[in-house]
Amino acid sequence: MIIPAEYLLILSAVLFFIGVFGFFTRRNLVSLLISTELMLNAVDINFAVFNAYCQPQHLEGYIFSLFGIGVAAAETAVAIAIIINVYRNIHSIHIKKLKNLKH
């Protein structure tokens, strides 16, 4: 039996918004990053699913997923570098401490 595409899409949607929820509520920069990974991961699922179910003749979604993984990695690398830098500067990666720039 073929799993209906909608199931997969709903799964990815749920993962995506769990990521969103995490992004909104976590208080720690690394956790924020983890949440974004969840979101990007969900997006990749979407692309793969659409490719498999809608356009199997071309590899557009597939390759998009592939590149998505790469981009996610690059983003994470940069983000983590900056997080480390933040830590060096203020000795905390707590969101609350990032209050120098506001209003």
Partner: protein, 167 residues
Amino acid sequence: MDINMIIFAGLAIVMIVSALFAVTSSKIMRATTLLLFVLFGTAGLYFMLHYNFLGAVQITVYAGGIVVLFIFAILLIGKGSVDVTQTSIRRYLAGMATALTGMALTIYLILNTGFASDKFTASGVEMKELGMALMGTDKFNYILPFEAMSILLLACTVGAIMIARKK
């Protein structure tokens, strides 16, 4: 009950539960580990779609690369990284409400949109086909994004090193 369905259901439950815990757990290490479960689950999904290479990449890059990066970062940062549980109830509720609204809307739209999703064949992707697509210059070939990606990775490497190194 189809075996695929059972596997899918299992994966889905694992992924969702781990994802939920990953974004609520107060221990950062635990969260990272749970993220790893989600990533493995995703790889599982790819295998189900017979996208074996994609699944492999998922495991190597995501699980092997990114999560390790996380762990490094966490270790580097040390005890300051202990996650504090959600403090502001207002933001918590606002975040939850927004996310839930978004999710509801998305699921509603998914269910009400007829994707032309009837072309699924369990054939998978030939490696050669994939290679050609990545290296080709015609339509549905992706040499240009591939090259662009390389610049991106280079730039990010340079940038990340520049920022992270100590002088």
